[in-house]
Every structure is written in structure tokens, then in C-alpha cells.
Symmetry: C2
């Protein structure tokens, strides 16, 4: 293919999203560059003892804790044409990482990846007619040198489990004990014989509560709806409502009760951040709602940019692989995108449906109830690409049902796929 | 003042806005850093023969053309406490630049300015409690080294006469003659004996038309409303409606007529760009509408950031000086900002008024009719700062009236202020 017609892809991040994008982009004959700020592939799936900042002064990316096992079955992970193989239905972190490394090797992706390169800024090049391109400023972290490059397409795969969201309770700064966000949690050892307060009731909250209950002197969980706290049968667990105030040695709750504690663990979720996207890209992020995105993935203001992995409460690797294949259909011109106004109308209809269901702003990308598998079907049908196997939905649904019943032990289940459906 | 309480200001750009901000910020005892990507102060007011890209590969900032004279009287320029002195009511570019240089010298501003430093990216530091700060990545252009710094306040003064907006007419790329935007216009000499088409009817359009009419073989002006073209009595001038198509050697218009031309000059305005502002700053720019800004200047999502100089069709230096003094009142804590919801409501009311007046989206910051001086009064009253002198409004109004009557000669008027009002 002649130099002038070879398209250039910039992919931000070599995690589960970036690897899939790199593979599918490379399959089109394009020139691909993946910028990865760490020294290895895997993104979220890389475990490191490190917390805080790395040796380049960048915030540590991964929130992975020791002994993490997946919270959905292996059959709902993997990519469309790459199975995640494990002896267990719920594989451990190392197995997921090995699978990703194997995938990178199989598709010879390392030839495209620039490790220890941080994407600093992405701006559209205005005023260059229909063939609008992207200017990307990248910092080689080892040399602390900046380079300015141009690309035809940008696929943003920076993950959204990196920037902790911590509620601003009064008195927080005066607390004399340990306060950490689950982002910085690695294992429960340091909480031995401590009085621990855990804030939140999501996936990391339950994992961390179960591990901490084994070693802590006491464990209290605060959540705005204490009935929603489902951590199984933890003997030491006390549940409390929302925090009203933090004191130097404890916490007061909105029901007037108080506890003494030496550790507060915030399992309060993450903030979607895109530090490297200039406002000139036409993307707005407000309370984890990213707009305007066609099908939650293509930047309507500059449709040669995709933001991969924005929807959550899903089967992330399968979804990102589907999104990558979806975008490539349009980037290569195999399919033509609808008009700008049609894309906006499609997005608006999805938003309206979410508002109708009473979802708050921060859940405008959450794939609740039937939305998840409808979304996957919609992506596949719209772009004419291979859909997910029907087993994925069945496995996911069964896993959620089992988790609800027995959050402590559901990962010991073993599922097996029998036949095609 | 102790190190820990000295506030740090980051000011982007050492033009008319940045110099005023630097002076007022420094007056509070703060530590000020002004990042200026060129080697001199003055921003828009610096004339350079250079067009395209500078020696560092950056787009040339200034749109200044040779022999430009101000389009408003000197009494409406200057700052609140710094007069722009000139023998003429409408000073030339060199006089405005000298005044700015003198102001910088008077207030010893060069000690704060880092020349040939490009601000690459600004992001808020999340999760650091109430004392939220800014991370700024700056490139020393001479060394091509990046540095990461932290600041308490950011004042963005990058101007908005740098990124040309060029309409995308069909056939544009096949035109064999010269096409330039007024951003790259320096003088009319090169249009001698050419058949020139000029697109637009604003300030630069009239200046460039008057200069070009003296040397060109023919001069045609295209504007969607030909009745609005007021360039005085130019003998060679022909007016045409909107372009429908560009051919290799000429242009067709929506009324079915066509001309042959060898030069097209686009006086079609500028795009507001903030390449260095990350989407994480919570600022959205859509069709030159910047949101959410309290009083068109303070970032409501992160009120320790100001975007100076956004409103247009105004007395820019006076306005920016007023905005700088306005912001400093809040940054120092002399005044407290209203609540977030009150700021949003205030902004919404202004928007509603603009929509009621039928203004298009791209004019959401245009100070039309009575809006300009009401805006200045509002800023002064709200923050309790010294308002503009009443003469400014009178001078401005008289200038606009005279310009309408005689666009070719209004700059030869001489005004004199007699008494206080």
C-alpha cells in the first residue's frame, strides 16, 4: 500500500482495550502506534505492589489487588475469537494477564507498542479540509523528550479504574489513622487488629471486606442504603448509613451513631479522566458522562476518534473487542456513519431511555438490566460484524444470580458450555 | 509571606490580557508565572512577516497586518489605570505595542515571564480535597524539555485571533490560485493586478478590501447578506452572495452568477481554541461558545481557573483588565463566589436573554448593542471594583456611528475628552 494511503492509528494504552484495537487496526493494513505509559501490556490487569506515584512521577495506573479473581466467568471474558483459558471458571489476575500477553504475542503486537511513552495531548488539526487529522504530543518517559506526531485515527483506551473518587466529608483531613482508596489497596495484611471502616458496597468493597474481615479487629461498612450491602455472612460486620463527619479518631453517621476506627477504606469508585484530550477534541466529561458519543464509543464531533471501554457493568474485554471491530468498520470506510444529526438523535434516544428509567447522570454509561446485551447486539447489527456468542449472556446472568445469593463463594462454581447455545 | 501561603498563579500568554493579569496577580503578593510561547510580549499586537509555522513548528500566533490602526479610539483602549498615549485618536499597531511594552516595564512584569515556553496541558489535580490545584505541563521550546508544575490559579489569556475558520466550500482544494485567510494577510502588495475575491464583511474584511482595492485588477466581495457589506465607496468593488462552489479558476455563487478570480481571501473569522486545556478542566467549546463560565470568565466547574477575553465586539484591553481585576477579587478571597447553582443560574439567564434576542450559538459571547457596557458595569458592581470611565462608552458609540457612515475615513477623526463625563 502506498505511503500516502496507509492510514495511521494512534492507540492510547496497551491494556485489554488497546491490544484489541491494535490487532484489528493492524489487520486493515494500517500503520499502528500504541502508546503505553508503563513498561508492559495488560493495563488494569498488571499487579504491582507500588501505590501512589511511579518512578516517573506519574500516578500508578493499576488498582489490582493481590489474589484478585475475576467477578464474571471466563466464558464472558476473552475476545470474540480469543478464549480466556483457565482451569477455573473465575480465573485469577495472573491468568487474565497471561492471556493478554499471549494475545499480544499471537498477533505480534509488540512491534506497534511504544512502552514508557505517555500521551500528553491530543488535538484535532483544524482547517485542513475533509481529511482532518490528529496532532499527538507524546513524552518518552525515559528521555523526558516530547515528540509531536500526526495520525488519521485515535482510539482512546486509557481505562477508567485509575483516578479515585473520594467523597469530601467534613473533617477528613484531621483523621489521624490510615485513609486509603481501594485504588491503593493491595492486600489486607496491614489491617490486622485494626478497626476498619469501609465505605461502599460494590465489587471491590465486597472483595476487600471479605479479605479484611479475616484479619481486622472490627469491620464496619458505611453505605447510603445499608440494605444493599451484600457481603455474605461476615460475623464481624456492622453496617452503617452515610458518613456525616469524620473526627480525628472515628466517624459519625447521619443516623447520629458514631464509631471509633483506625482505618478508612474508600471503595467509592473512579472518575473518568482523559487528561490528554484537549477540549478542542469536542469531548465533555461531566460526572462520568462522556458526550457526545455515538453508540457510547465514537466522538460525534470528530468521528475519527473513538473512546473505547466507556460503558460499565458489562463484560469489559468482550465489549471492548466488539467496540474496536465496530469502529474499524467505519474508520476503514467499509461502513458509512450516519449524519451528525442522526448520530446525535440516536444518542439522545438512549439518554432519554436512561432518564425514563430514573438512572442518575453518573450512570449514563451503565449497562443496567437488559441494556448490556441489547447494546452488544446493536453494535454488531449496526456495523455488520460478528456478534457475541449467546452463551455470554447466559453465563453472565447466571453469575449475577449466584453472586447475589452467595457473594463469598460464587467464584467456586464451575460452569461448562455444552453445545452452541 | 510564608512559602506555604504564597499563592501561585499560572498565566497563559503575555499579550494584552496576560500582562494585565500578571500585574494584578503580582500586586496581591502572589508568585506569578506567565508562559509566553513567542520571544516577546504583546500577543496579537506583535507584527511579524512570518506566516504559517514558526521556527519551533508552532502555528504563527499573530494575525496582525502591516499598517493596522485600531478600530476603536485610544480612549476606549488602555487599561483602567494606564492610558494608551498617541498623537492620533486611532493609533497604529506600533503604538499599541509600545504601550504594552511600557506597561510591562512599569510593573516589572518581565521577572515573571517565561518566554519561548509553550503550555502543553493543564489538568486539575483531583482528589486533593478543598485546596484543589492545577498541574501544568510546559515545554521549553529552546530545549524541547517538558516540565510539570503546580499552581493554585490559572488565568488563560491565549487570545482568539489565531486559529482561522475557513468554510468548507465544495471544490476548494482544486482552486489553482492563491487562497489565504486574513490570519495570513500581511499587506496587499502581492495582490497587484490580481482578480481578488474577498469573503466576509467584518473588520478585517473592510481593512483588507480598502487596501486591496488600490492595487488589484478587480475586487469582489462575497457575503451572505450583500447589503451588509459597508466598505465605503470603493470604485472597483462588486458584491456577491454566498459561494456555492469553487472551480479551479473562479467561484460560483448561490444566485447562479460566477466570476473568474486568481485570489481568494477568507475574512471568515476565528475559532476559539484551547489546545492546552484538558477535557478534565470541565470546559466545553462548541461553535465558539465556551461553557460553563460565570460572567463569561470564571470556570464554574473549577472556579480557580479564569478564561480571560472570551467576549468579543468590545473594548478588549479595557475588558480584559476589568476581568482580571474581577477574578483577583475572588481568587484572593476578598469576595466569595456565589454557589455553583447560583453561578449556573446567572449564566443561564444571560444565555436566555441572548436566545430571546435571536442571537445564534456562535454569538453567545458577543457583546451586542447595550450588552457591552452593561457587562462592564455588572463585573464592576458584582466584584466591587473600579468601573470603566463613562467616556469609554461615549467614545465607543460615537466611533461605531462614524464608522458606519464612513468606513474609509473614520480613523481620521480626532476626539478629545473634555471634563470627566
Amino acid at each position: 500500500m502506498a505511503q500516502s494511503t496507509t492510514k495511521r492509528y494512534c492507540i492510547v494504552g496497551a491494556g485489554a482495550g488497546g491490544l484489541s484495537c491494535a490487532r484489528h487496526a493492524a489487520d486493515t493494513g494500517a500503520h499502528v502506534t500504541v502508546f503505553e505509559q508503563t513498561a508492559s501490556v495488560g493495563g488494569t490487569w498488571v499487579y504491582t505492589d507500588e501505590t501512589g506515584h511511579d518512578r516517573y512521577g506519574l500516578p500508578v495506573h493499576s488498582s489490582m489487588y493481590r489474589n484478585l479473581r475475576t467477578n464474571i466467568p471466563k466464558q464472558t471474558m476473552g475476545y470474540w475469537d480469543s478464549e480466556l483459558v483457565s482451569d477455573r471458571t473465575y480465573p485469577g489476575q495472573e491468568e487474565v494477564l497471561s492471556w493478554l500477553e499471549g494475545y499480544a504475542e499471537q498477533h505480534r503486537l509488540s512491534r506497534w507498542i511504544k512502552f514508557e511513552h505517555q500521551v500528553i495531548r491530543i488535538v484535532p488539526l483544524f482547517g485542513e479540509g475533509a481529511s482532518r487529522r490528529w496532532e499527538v504530543i507524546v513524552r518518552d518517559l525515559r528521555e523526558n523528550r516530547c515528540e509531536t506526531l500526526q495520525f488519521d485515527f485515535v482510539m482512546v483506551c486509557n481505562g477508567h479504574y485509575s483516578c479515585p473518587k473520594v467523597p469530601e466529608y467534613p473533617g477528613r483531613d484531621a483523621f489521624v489513622g490510615i485513609q486509603i482508596h481501594s485504588h491503593d489497596y493491595r492486600c489486607a495484611d496491614r489491617f490486622e487488629d485494626q478497626d476498619v471502616l469501609l465505605v461502599g458496597a460494590g465489587y471491590s468493597a465486597s472483595d476487600i471486606a471479605i479479605a479484611t474481615a479475616k484479619v481486622a479487629r472490627s469491620l464496619t461498612v458505611s453505605h447510603h442504603d445499608p440494605n444493599k450491602v451484600n457481603f455474605g455472612n461476615l460475623p464481624t460486620l456492622v453496617t452503617k448509613p452515610t458518613i456525616s463527619k469524620i473526627t480525628p479518631t472515628g466517624v459519625e453517621f447521619v443516623d447520629g451513631t458514631a464509631i471509633t476506627c483506625s482505618v478508612i477504606i474508600y471503595c467509592t469508585g473512579y472518575r473518568f479522566t482523559y487528561p490528554f484530550l484537549s477540549v478542542d477534541c469536542g469531548i465533555t466529561v461531566e460526572d462520568n458522562h462522556v458526550t457526545p458519543l455515538y453508540k457510547h464509543v465514537i466522538n460525534i464531533n470528530h468521528p475519527s476518534m473513538a473512546l473505547i471501554g466507556v460503558p460499565f457493568y458489562c463484560c469489559p474485554t468482550q465489549m471492548m473487542d466488539l467496540q474496536a471491530r465496530f469502529c474499524i468498520q467505519y474508520f476503514t470506510g467499509s461502513r458509512l456513519l450516519p449524519s451528525r444529526s442522526d448520530m446525535l438523535a440516536d444518542t439522545e434516544a438512549d439518554l432519554e431511555e436512561r432518564k425514563r428509567r430514573g438512572l442518575p447522570k453518573k450512570w449514563m454509561h451503565k449497562l443496567v438490566d437488559d441494556m448490556q446485551f441489547k447494546y452488544y447486539e446493536d453494535l454488531a447489527r449496526t456495523a455488520g460484524i460478528v456478534p457475541l456468542a449467546p452463551t455470554v449472556e447466559k453465563m453472565f446472568t447466571e453469575c449475577m444470580r449466584r453472586r447475589m445469593l452467595d457473594v463469598q463463594n460464587y467464584r467456586d462454581d464451575e460452569f461448562e458450555v455444552v453445545g452452541e447455545n
